[in-house]
């Protein structure tokens, strides 16, 4: 009897949220993507840092990626429990703004160190990066310097599907912004280089590390992980002369936030040196504001694109359907 | 006393009528050609087949609302009378408790019945480890414990050798006499009827005839039976 009691309790404990600790502290609910909140992401450090000053309990609720995150918040609509949504990117901003679920951050003038000027009243950028093709220096000797050279080379690449992944969409807009009407031709020329198109970044990067392709669509910051965490300097990103497409990740306050003041304070924390210092070695992206102490060793060795390509949020939404059509037509054969 | 009151059965295109009374106790044989409907009749009495019309009465009581297991009868099939995964003892014990929840005294009765029927020492065997004759005895031991007033045998011993079959038939006759049970014995072999059944129901041409003395029936077979007997 006793024994079955214990096991029941154990099961209950494993299955239910550990909300048993009776705390009267206010709870700030932050909806974010899963890898931000995971043990290996910035989440734990950010939670600890903010809770040290806010006198509150910061709780993450997660979705698979940025698109899933927005999709969830839109589904919840006005009844959402989220106070802050963190982890949308520029391609989702227009959709997010249209939903009317978000409100101004009221942060005043923040000095971002990003390749683009930022004055959006609603969305607060917290990190950014360039999409790039990553390769193994020991295996690829003739590194292409633009899409045309890549297409002409015998190199095999793995890319992500724009319909289900953020980098995939980024690549779509990258080619479109660099080549405009010529994008369709670039895709046709790239078709024989593409080994496969994966549903997400994890699959693509995993296959690349396994040796299934010479290059993979990732970020210019990816080699920093290998360099810093694994002391492996064989990975590099190929700089392209067309410029690189920019991804900016943002956070925003939910209009119906129950903890409005805490949400404001959290957004201010997001732009603080403490938060920003956590980003490089957990999210493996550039912080939106370079900390006074500079970037960690290893980030200096990364390629610095000569030109940042990016569509303003509203325009990206208009262009992506046309770009997707070209992509499907070129690769669908 | 079993009464089939204007009973009408159908199974697909097949149709069988019966309007008769079987007085008890004692053994009554049901004979007829293969496919004449002997088993169908038994299935209806046992409750596996709902009549199209008419009633089946036991001592004047309509059995229509009773589930097969609740009817005052035990049925032994052509085969599959034992559960292969249960020991002989448990197979017998099902006759006392369908849930196999027996008191010590009831288990003692199980063992006693098995011993009486010649199964001593085989209690813990599985059916596959028993001979055909032993399997038949296990089924009969269960009949004994169920102690229902009516016993239906559907060609039950068809698979046994002649000597063994006769032994089993005699055992049935003995049990019937001891427990004052009414037995309906379906068989395609007139000798079975001759051996233990004083009276016989002939099933032929879609009709189950009222029981008549077996000796008379076999001595002066009507046309339907004559065809079957080949005389």
């Amino acid at each position: 009897m006793m024994k079955s009691h214990v096991s029941t309790l154990m099961i209950a404990g494993l299955l239910t949220a550990t909300s048993a600790v009776a705390e009267e502290k206010p709870v700030l609910t932050v909806h974010t993507y899963d890898s931000f909140a995971s043990e290996w992401g910035p989440g734990p450090a950010v939670e600890k840092g903010f809770e040290a000053t806010c006198g509150c309990d910061l709780k993450y609720v997660t979705a698979g990626d940025g698109a899933a995150l927005l999709s969830r918040v839109i589904m919840e609509g006005g009844r959402t429990k989220a106070d802050v949504v963190l982890g949308l990117d520029m391609n989702l901003m227009a959709q997010a703004a249209e939903s009317g679920l978000f409100t101004d951050h009221g942060l005043g003038d923040v000095k971002y160190t990003m390749p683009v000027a930022w004055d959006d009243p609603v969305f607060v950028p917290f990190d950014w990066g360039y999409f790039a093709f990553v390769y193994d220096k020991t295996k690829v000797k003739d590194v292409p310097t633009d899409f045309k050279a890549l297409a002409a080379s015998p190199l095999k690449i793995i890319i992500e599907d724009p319909r289900s992944s953020t980098p995939g969409l980024g690549l779509l807009l990258w080619v479109k912004s660099a080549y405009g009407a010529g994008a369709a031709q670039i895709w046709k020329d790239l078709a024989d280089n593409i080994v496969t198109v994966t549903p997400g970044w994890s699959e693509a990067y995993g296959l690349f590390l396994k040796g299934e392709a010479d290059m993979v669509l990732s970020y210019t910051t990816s080699p920093a992980y290998h360099l810093i965490a694994e002391k492996d300097d064989t990975k590099a990103a190929a700089p392209f002369t067309e410029g690189h497409y920019l991804q900016v990740e943002v956070a925003a306050k939910v209009a119906s936030a129950r903890e409005g003041d805490l949400a404001d304070r959290f957004l201010a924390y997001v732009t603080s040196p403490e938060f920003q210092a956590v980003i490089p070695e957990t999210n493996w992206m550039y912080p939106a504001i370079t900390p006074a102490s500079g970037l960690p060793d290893g980030f200096q060795s990364l390629v610095a694109p000569a030109k940042a390509l990016v569509y303003p949020a509203g325009e990206a939404k208009k262009i992506r359907d046309e770009a997707l059509g070209e992509w499907q037509a070129a690769l669908g054969r | 006393m079993l009464t089939l009151d204007h009973l009408s059965l159908t199974l697909g295109a097949f149709r069988l009528e019966a309007d008769l009374t079987v007085p008890g106790p004692g053994v009554t044989a049901i004979i007829g050609a293969s496919g004449s409907g002997k088993s169908t009749l038994l299935a209806a009495i046992a409750g596996f087949l709902a009549p199209v019309s008419g009633r089946i009465l036991w001592n004047g009581q309509d059995m229509a609302t009773l589930a097969p297991g609740d009817r005052p009868l035990t049925m032994l099939f052509q085969d599959q009378n034992l559960f292969p995964h249960l020991s002989a003892r448990k197979n017998v014990a099902l006759g006392l408790s369908p849930a196999l929840r027996l008191t010590a005294a009831e288990w003692a009765r199980v063992d006693e019945a098995m011993a009486r029927i010649g199964l001593g020492g085989l209690e813990n065997r599985l059916p596959a480890q028993l001979s055909g004759g032993q399997q038949a005895r296990v089924a009969l031991a269960r009949v004994l414990l169920r102690a229902r007033p009516l016993l239906l045998l559907d060609e039950t011993f068809g698979g046994l050798g002649p000597a063994l079959k006769e032994e089993m038939l005699d055992l049935v006759a003995r049990l019937s006499a001891e427990t004052a049970a009414t037995v309906l014995l379906v068989s395609h072999d007139p000798d079975d009827a001759r051996r233990i059944a004083p009276q016989t129901i002939l099933v032929a041409d879609g009709q189950a005839q009222p029981p008549v003395a077996t000796a008379d029936l076999l001595a002066n077979p009507p046309p339907g039976l004559r065809r079957y007997l080949g005389t």
Binding site: M10, I11, L14, L15, A17, D34, S35, S38, E39, W40, Y60, V61, T62, A63, R72, M75, D161, R163, S164, I194, V195, T196, V197, P199, G200, E203, Y205, G206, K210, G211, E212, A213, H226, L331, G332, R333 | F14, G35, S36, S39, T40, A43, A46, G47, F48, L49, A50, A67, P68, M75, F77, F83, P84, H85, L94, P98, A99, L100, L126, A128
Partner: protein, 524 residues
Amino acid sequence: MASRARPLRPGVWGVGGGWVAAAALLLLTLGTTAAVLWRAGAAPLPGAADWVAVRFTVMQAAASAAISAALAIPVARALARRSFPGRGLLISLMGAPFLLPGIVAVIGILHVFGRSGWISQLLGRFGLPPLEIYGPVGVVLAHVFFNLPLAVRLILQGWRDIPAERFRLAASLGFRSRDINRLLEWPMLRAILPGVVLAIFLICLTSFVVALTLGGGPRATTVELAIYQAFRFDFDPGHAAMLGVVQFALCLGATLVALWVTAPTGFGAGLDRPLRVWAASGPLARLVDAAILAAAAAFLLAPLLAVLLAGLPALTRIPASLGQAALRSVVMAGLSASMTLGLTLALAHAALSRGLAGRLAEAAGMLTLAASPLVMGTGLFLLLYPIMDPTSAALPVTVVVNAAMAVPFSLRVLLPSLREVDADYGRLSESLGIRGWTRLRLVTLPRLRRPIGFAAGLAAALAMGDLGVIALFGNPDQPTLPLEVFRLMGAYRTEAAAAGAVLLLALSFGLFWICDTWGRNADA
């Protein structure tokens, strides 16, 4: 008159529990789709791109199902009629691919068949170009790798269900291999194959990670990807729900075809004697069977070995949090499997009743296979959101959904056996008054021990390996093991992820092996 008369009334189980189970499954599948539709307010009709996706989906699923089933026949046959040391272990091991999480299986396959895989490396030694499996070939190859084990097990079950007495009779009549084939094996296959093909077809219908990763590009767009696109790219839940409906329609069509071509075997019962086929004991037949088994084992086990080899080096450095997640996943898998068995038994009893009702119950049991996980998760989210906090419901909901997802498999495993048990012992039980729970305890469960062990193992392992809906419900503090492995992959920790995959594989397989062995000990 060997009459198999209509019973007076259906089993007690069939009435209550069966319909409750069917209703629960309908709510999870059609109900969730309706919730998404209702939320969207409108659903556009499928466009040209959708039909292209439907066509590719059906083609790859049909090819995968046909090839898996066809290859499974000789393998199951060889396993059925040969006994050798390690046979039981081989049967269990060969089942493992089916239990793998999609991405782990894909990586395993690529270790062997990929551009840098073992075969390509071997080809490279001879100056030959690497294998190019990306494209429809790769999709089908992966699906066969996944589903061949299921097909083998289901068909092997069919061989077991032919009573040994029939083979003995065949031997005594001097049947040759060909005669056994025609008179015993073919009728069994006629009865079993449609269900097997259907199950695999439906599994491949909702394929996502496999189809996309190995598909080589937008040519390999499945309906499930189109659903993803509708939700995540177009923010058009109406379109997604409509595509969900299309998947159900495909499922319904395939199910009707399968039911239509299925013929009952009517072998009757035997006395549990071990199976031995007399006719096929010649040296040539032995050699052929050995070759078939060796080939199948190599095909199925090499990728598993590759996954193991890749993960073992990092196994000692496995992050501590994975242990917690693993324990949580094991408990959840156990709960899921129990729930699957309950649902399946109830449903299977309902499916015993003749006519439309029985067929409907059977169809309800297949429905979750056709359900898009994304639509189901989203619909559940919409249904639960007004009543409770979805985040705190994440684990219970995952348990329930994983349980429901395994029902089609366990139903395929249990139903044919239950039908046989009912045909063979239904009347005997009825006549002895063994009914309801007693019948379940004394007759049905013991007689079904082997398929129950298999089904429970399948359900537990599937629940263990499935990412399920947990990612949608988003509770970051209580990850399951698959989620944790996926997180490691997403955080560049490829080595740790590989080690996590080994842990996942070991636990999935361990759960399966324990249940399956328990079932197979029925013979001992």
